[in-house]
């Protein structure tokens, strides 16, 4: 449809049309590379450090893996686009289209996988807080692995289904409903945890001798966590909704002209994710430090 709007722009040169906002390839590349580096680092650190073989870190590792896959497929698509631009690749060839489909399904898979990983992390934290004494019984490594396998299988199938049946409105509606459901559930879990924390904080504050000060840090962290998630993900999903709901509306058209910006936001979430989830952990940070020192020592010795 964007080609459709671009054609009138070219022929009619109407100033009030919303031209599609173009983002140079270099920016896509940079963000994809940074995200790839960060998430790969997290995955390697979790795998190498035996202390981090616990359900919570497994979920964080799975999130980082999904982000890695999305960065990789985005980078691959960029490379193919560069080749197509320079004329080395026929953009209409069958094999190119097939490869395109594979990349799209990988992207879809990684997007859905990210959402499910967030959900898994939130549920894990919820169980840790509200069933702390029975946590080790509820969330064993076996169960965590089973949950992760189910998530990966489901996302793989969904990615393929979405790309094959993209024209089907029902599938897209399912995708959007899934996103909204996940959002609401994550919000509920975190707010409930926050309420308990506030409850405990008040109990502790009422003890004699303890410092009494209003700590806004919890509220701020929760707002950042949720705000970043919403700000990065919902423009893209609103785009999907708008494609289905109002394809002909000029206002919707102007919203859809910002498609590349929305994709950039989605990719930048993969960059911010490690900072919010993984790098908060002191154990993970110390693992990074050890890895860097080790690699640096190796380079120096060699």
């Amino acid at each position: 449809k964007m080609s459709k709007t671009e054609t009138p722009n070219f022929f009619y040169a109407n100033e009030t049309d919303c031209r599609e906002v173009q983002i140079p390839n270099e920016i896509f590349f940079t963000i994809a590379m940074v995200s790839l580096g960060e998430n790969l680092l997290v995955v390697v650190a979790v795998i190498r450090n035996k202390n981090l073989h616990s359900p919570m870190y497994c979920f964080i590792c799975s999130l980082a893996l999904f982000n890695t896959i999305s960065s990789l497929s985005k980078t691959w698509e960029n490379i193919m686009l560069v080749f197509t631009n320079t004329g080395h690749l026929n953009s209409r060839g069958d094999s190119v289209l097939k490869v395109d489909d594979v990349m799209d399904s990988l992207l879809c898979m990684s997007f859905i996988g990210s959402i499910f990983s967030f959900l898994a992390i939130a549920v894990d934290r919820y169980v840790t807080i509200f069933h702390a004494l029975r946590y080790h019984n509820i969330m064993t490594m076996k169960r965590a692995k089973a949950i992760l396998s189910a998530i990966w299988a489901f996302c793989g199938c969904t990615g393929v289904v979405m790309v094959v049946f993209f024209h089907n409105v029902a599938i897209m509606m399912c995708f959007i409903i899934l996103f909204v459901f996940a959002l609401v559930l994550i919000l509920f879990l975190y707010v409930h945890m926050f309420l308990l924390a506030r409850h405990h904080a008040r109990k502790i504050a009422s003890l004699p001798g303890s410092t009494k000060h209003h700590n806004l840090r919890g509220a701020l962290t929760l707002t950042i966590l949720f705000g970043v998630f919403i700000a990065c993900w919902s423009p893209f999903f609103l785009h999907l909704l708008i494609i289905m709901v109002c394809p002909q509306n000029p206002y919707c058209e102007c919203y859809r002209s910002l498609f590349q910006i929305h994709v950039i936001l989605l990719m930048s979430h993969a960059v911010i994710d490690p900072a919010i989830y993984a790098f908060r952990s002191a154990e993970l940070r110390s693992t990074f430090r050890k890895m860097f020192l080790y690699t640096w020592a190796q380079c120096v010795c060699v």
């Binding site: 616990s54 993209f166 966590l225 509306n249 206002y251 908060r280």
Partner: protein, 234 residues
Amino acid sequence: MRKKNYAAVVEDRRKIFLNFKESILEMSDFNHLNKSRSSGRGPEYVWEYEYYDDEEPVSFEGLKAHRYSVVIGFWVGLAVFVIFMFFVLTLLTKTGAPHQENLEACDKHPGLTSCVVDISHDQGSGSKVCSHSLMEESHSIFRCSINEEEQCEPVAGHQGYQGRLSVRTSSDVQGEPMGLRKDREANFLQHFNIPNFVNSEHSSVLGDDDLLLCEQPIIMDSETRCNSKLDIIS
């Protein structure tokens, strides 16, 4: 005809949405001349579609509001929602909680929440007695929840919080001297700090991690780390 156009639009959208860059590519100079450009599925639709160039599906004539009003409205709405959420959470931090909430929690949550005891009646007494009674009350409640713990397999080296609890409560707390008790109580308060929203002196071991969810109780290799087991949200 309208229906076919719409089908073509939807079909076109599919390719353009997922291959947005290719669609931009199509707009390069040497491509737009190629009228037989098609998605490879139903070329006849694309042909007819292109013959209806005069029927501009998206007309920008007579717009009442600014053309980016949907975009602006969306982002303003999002910002308002996030700020509203922040203020609500801040307000929750500042206002007091009804005590009934605690009583209900004792019934519904057999976990640690049940061990939060309302000690407001103790505030008149001295500090020693106050924390003393907190310890005892909490321990008595812990005894009921310890029965759950006895089924836990003790994971060596990953004992962390639960191991400590079972060790502490299984021993006879009553007969201990006062000094040991105060020491335990300090440790207990550290452990009791489930989500560390309050940055008290006891629980600032993982100083820079005390935001929301931090580490799990189980990944521990050092004694000091164990003290902030319940700083779960970083």
